[in-house]
Each structure stands twice: as C-alpha cells, then as structure tokens.
C-alpha cells in the first residue's frame, strides 16, 4: 500500500450520543452518514463505495439510497471500521471506487432494532466456553488479566489508573458521558463486576454512531476540512475463543496489526503525537501499549500511572475519554477513529498541541481480531 494516497475528508458522529431510544440502529447509521456527508460537503450520489459492520452493507446502502459498485461487510467486532479503512484505501488506490462511506450505528443501550449476538450451542464456544457461566465481555474479555498482572508485575492500582487518566480527558469533553474526576481508590472500591474489574474499569453501555468518507489524496484538498491522510494500516485475527489465546498476556493480533501499520507508515514510535487504544476494559491500553511497542514488557501500567498519557503528558492517549468515560455502544472502534480525525484536524474538544501523527488501534471481539490505522496531517504525508 502506498503511504498517504488516500485521505479522510468527511467524519462525524451521530447528532446525539448516550441514550437515543427514539432511533433504531439503522437510523443511527444514517444519522451519522448524513452528518459525515454534510461535513465533507458531499451529496449521497457522490458515494460509490459502502462499508459497515453490525448491519449489512446491503441494508445500509439501500436505506441511504446508494447503489454502490464496491461493498465491504467485514465484521470482526469493534475494530471492523479500522479494517474498513484499510480495505477502502486498497479499493480507492486500485480504482474499484472513488468515494467510500464507512458507517457505524449501534443501539447498544436502548436495543431498538438491534439483532442478537448469541453463540450457537453447537459452535466451539457453545460447547467449550458457554457452559461455564460467561456473561458477555465483562466476564470473558477480562479473563486473561490476572495472568497478565502476575507475569508482568503490573499492579491493580496501576490498572485502575487507566480509568483515572481517561476520566481526566473526559472532563474536557462536553459530549463525554462521565466527566467527574475519580481517584485510584475510588476505582478500586467501586462496585465489583467481575473480580478484579470494578464498574469504572468496564466500558459504558450507550447508543450512538459515526461515519467516515474517504477519497484519493489528489482530490483531498478540495473539501471543507483539513484532509487526514492514511499513512499506514494493519489488520489481523487470533481466535474467537478467549481460552485459546496463544499467550494470555499478549495479543498476537495486536502485534501483527500494529507492526504492519508502523511498517507501512514508515515511522517509529517517537513520531507519534497522539494515540487511541480501544478500551472496552481498563486492561486493553496495557496490552496495547506493550504489544504495539510503545512500552516494554510490564512497563505499561507504570507508564500510565506516572501520567504520561494525561493532558500535557508525552503520549496523550484516549483523549475523548475512551470507552470507559466517553461512550461505548458495543463496537467502539468508530469513535476512536473519529477522535483521531479530530485531533489531526485540530478540532477535538480536548485538543493536543500540533498532532501530525495519530495512531488508532482497535480490538475486535475479545482479543479475537485487531485493526490499526495511522493517520497524518499534510505535513507528514
């Protein structure tokens, strides 16, 4: 893939976030898509490629009145939208389409028009995991962490500092769901959900959506906002069964996806001004910082606890407040991408000074898949 040959020229979230019981899931897709079109100054007829997850691309295209000549329905969980960006870059570069719309919408809290997500009793998860009382991500995504803490020497207090740090960012963001500052002690003494995870180390459950529009870089300057160039991308998968991770303390998919994105972008970690690591739970930024190579083995907990990812820190991370404090509809990846776009454009609520390179890293399923997108300003293209 060529570096910087495709750019994001439209980006928007749904008009509202949080509780949106008056909108069905597919309407959340459409609301975000219409906002992104307005952001880019485009009409619906300008779109000739559609990618989405959670709904079918057929359903979204028809609902919006698009007859596309390229579709991507890659659905590997919350990082699907990172993969859609990667696939859209390839499609635009090879001439399969000119203008791709990626949509997300999820009625995660209100459950209006949202399908079910239960594993069949004959699937491998149904046979070898479901009988043991897993109740979704709070009890399954969290399962590897005690091994991580033991092997790396990371403490529960350091993990709690993830939630504390992100709440500081959320306090600067009017659209964030939770804005009141919290302390490590408050996080550790909050209501236990699944030991060792308390409520404030688990993501929010909200409604919302977001959409992106991508075109070839040679026309990217013709749009109302500063173009955000795609410098490099990566994707991978590991296993749909948490019990079968090769190593409970590291994600193979994170490592493959992250390394590929850095290699394509041709940058090293020192060039990164801003970082998003999908945080459905407080341990994910720990795994992400280590597996992407920002921190050495066992160093991520202290790195966060020492304030390096806070406002004014040397690696601002999850600057919208993240899934723990901003919002989390179920497939959070789209909101991480939106925040990276805002930071590179210079329009974020909690804007970091001079962001020329933003790394946006997502997880899909529960350590099942991964996607990484590295975005840059015109200065880094």
């Amino acid at each position: 893939m060529s570096r910087g040959e495709v750019a994001i020229v439209g980006a928007a979230e749904t008009t509202e976030l949080g509780r949106i019981p008056h909108m069905s899931q597919i309407q959340l897709h459409a609301d975000a898509a219409l906002n992104a079109l307005a952001d880019a100054g485009l009409g619906i007829s300008d779109i000739d490629g559609v990618a989405t997850a959670g709904e079918s691309p057929t359903g979204v295209a028809h609902y919006l009145g698009i007859t596309p000549n390229w579709v991507d329905g890659t659905a590997v969980g919350g990082c699907s939208f990172m993969l859609h960006v990667r696939h859209a870059v390839a499609a635009i570069e090879s001439g399969l389409c000119r203008c791709v719309l990626i949509t997300h919408g999820e009625s995660g809290r209100s459950n209006v028009g949202r399908g079910g997500r239960v594993s069949a009793a004959s699937s491998l998860q149904g046979q070898f995991e479901s009988p043991y009382g897993g109740m979704g991500p709070t009890t399954i995504f969290t399962l590897p962490v005690l091994r991580f803490l033991k092997e790396t020497g990371t403490t529960l207090a350091e993990m709690a500092s993830v939630a504390v740090s992100q709440r500081q960012w959320a306090g600067k963001n009017p659209r964030a769901t939770l804005k009141t500052p919290i302390t490590v002690d408050e996080v550790l003494n909050d209501r236990m959900i699944a030991y060792p995870f308390t409520r404030s180390q688990c993501c929010l459950v909200t409604d919302g959506g977001g959409a992106l529009i991508l075109v070839a870089a040679d026309r990217a300057e013709d749009f109302p906002h500063k173009p955000v160039y795609i410098l490099g991308t990566g994707e991978s998968t590991e296993t749909p069964m948490i019990s079968q991770m090769a190593d409970l303390t590291t994600s193979k998919a994170f490592k493959v996806s992250g390394a590929r994105a850095f290699s394509e972008a041709g940058i090293d970690h020192g060039a990164v001004d801003h970082l998003m690591i999908y945080d459905a739970f407080a341990h994910l930024p720990l795994y992400g910082l280590e597996d992407l190579g920002f921190c050495g083995r066992g160093e991520a907990g202290a790195f966060i606890a020492e304030g390096n990812t806070l406002p004014g820190g040397r690696l601002p991370m999850n600057t919208n407040g993240g899934g723990l404090s901003y919002m989390h509809s179920g497939m959070y990846g789209m909101y991480a991408l939106q925040e990276s776009v805002r930071q590179v454009r210079g329009t974020a609520a909690a804007q970091v000074d001079a962001v020329d390179v933003s790394v946006c890293h997502g997880v899909g399923g529960m350590f099942a898949a991964s996607g990484t997108v590295i975005m840059g300003s015109s200065a880094t293209r």
Binding site: S122, F128, R147
Partner: protein, 140 residues
Amino acid sequence: MRIDFTQVPVPVPTPETEHFWAGTRVGELRLQQCIDCQTTYFPPRPFCPTCASRAIEIVCASGRGSLASYVINQRPHPAFDGPYAIALVELEEGVRMMSNLLNIEQTPDALILDMPLQVTLQPLSDDIVLPYFEPRGSRS
C-alpha cells in the same frame, strides 16, 4: 458455590467434537495429537492446527492441570447461587480449557494462580457430561 446443573447451557456436539463428549461419558478427558508433529491440541478438529496434517489421533489427558487465570463474576446467573469463578485451566499436556472450579471458595484468597487442579466430570443430560476442575486431592 452450588451449580444448578439443569440451568447450564448444554453443548450440542458436532461430528468433529463427538469423540470428546463420548470420552467424558466414559470418564475420559480426550484431546487430540498430531502423528506427524506430535502437537497435542484442543478444541477438537480433524487436523493439526500447527502443521495442518490430517494424520491425528485421540489421546487421553491425565486430567491434571493448573489455574492459568480467572474472573469472579458478581452478577446473577441462573446456574449459580452466588459469585462464581470462570477459570482458564492449563492442562499438563499443554492445552488450555475454560471451566468452573468446584469444591473451593470462590474468592481471590482461595483461588491462587498456578494452583494444581484435577478434572471432575458432571452429567448435564443423558448425552452430555461436562468437565469441571477442582483442587488436586479433592475427593468429589
């Protein structure tokens, strides 16, 4: 902690997993091993996940393992009468399984990573006997 076995979601075997469930019915915890590269693996499939060879055989696990990781769920579940651990158990043969832990307090003080465990089999229906684990030396 007590489990109401009538409320446990009952696995539905497929052709590729039938031998595993036939094994638990006769008191065996069956894994598979590659004849070409000797990898022992789980969950079941009729080829080796390391080298893709179809030359594989069924082997019986010792039933011994250790506690790799766990969470203690605090939210109510119809099959459990209070907080319960969902555990990952590393078997001696090098494979990992999810399970629950019987005959032990479901608390961080009692559940120590790497503690030795042994399999214990519990019938869920006429066809399905589910493997659980308990501290090694328990007499269940």
